[in-house]
Subunit: 136 residues, 2 copies
């Protein structure tokens, strides 16, 4: 079961500049910055209600994000729904015929376990599922 929107990810060219907009203009608070080595990205989080805006910048020149920014430009990248058990959700989605990018969960930011669904399954929307660490 999807519990809530954990975050909306926005691909940006320059995290510091984009963060200024979210802080100074929109008035949101930057709650953390983290490098996600596995995805070669650097992410900044802003809390909004029970959800977050996650700004994503490349952390390495060969990050997958570089090609995306070149072809599609900056903008909303994906939406992440929080679930209790991401492994069970992935199995259920596969059984329902969804096409998953990740057949099994993998590590995400903040010690989460995550899995992406392919946008062709979901009307062009890249959907991530995430499970928070049980200690929290």
């Amino acid at each position: 079961m999807l519990k809530k929107i954990n975050h909306i990810a926005v691909a940006v060219s320059n995290l510091d500049e984009a963060a200024k907009f979210y802080q100074s203009v929109l008035g949101l608070t930057l709650t953390g910055v983290e490098v996600v080595a596995a995805q070669k990205t650097k992410v900044g989080f802003f809390k909004i209600g029970e959800s977050n805006i996650e700004l994503v910048q490349r952390s390495e020149p060969d990050s997958p994000l570089v090609k995306l920014l070149e072809t599609k430009g900056q903008g909303i990248h994906h939406i992440c729904f929080e679930v209790d058990d991401v492994e069970a959700e992935v199995k259920a989605l596969l059984q329902k015929g969804a096409t998953m990018v990740d057949q099994k969960p993998r590590p995400g930011a903040h010690n989460t376990k995550v899995a992406f669904m392919h946008p062709k399954s979901s009307n062009g929307v890249l959907i991530e599922l995430c499970e928070l660490p049980k200690e929290h």
Copy 2:
């Protein structure tokens, strides 16, 4: 002040088909369908936590959405933040140098008052602000 994500809008070619995915595969509940005459769109809402997913389909052949679907295809269209006083927010944003599509609020779905910010102000993200009717 931005209170929460009111909704994420997703542009779709066929609302009924997309709604099937959100219901049968993702397990969300369709809470309402409404024609927004001013924007020539038909929208379907799905509750997720304190937010909603809003699927948007054209309601007229000359809807602005038609060109968008032709050029960009289906996908996440905008993010809407809920505020207490949209008129005051628009004034404050203009003073901070933001470029607004709407210089003054206009009617949105569900008797809301809404205003859109131009994506060039916000790293390619189309941002809507909405104020709920006070009776609610």
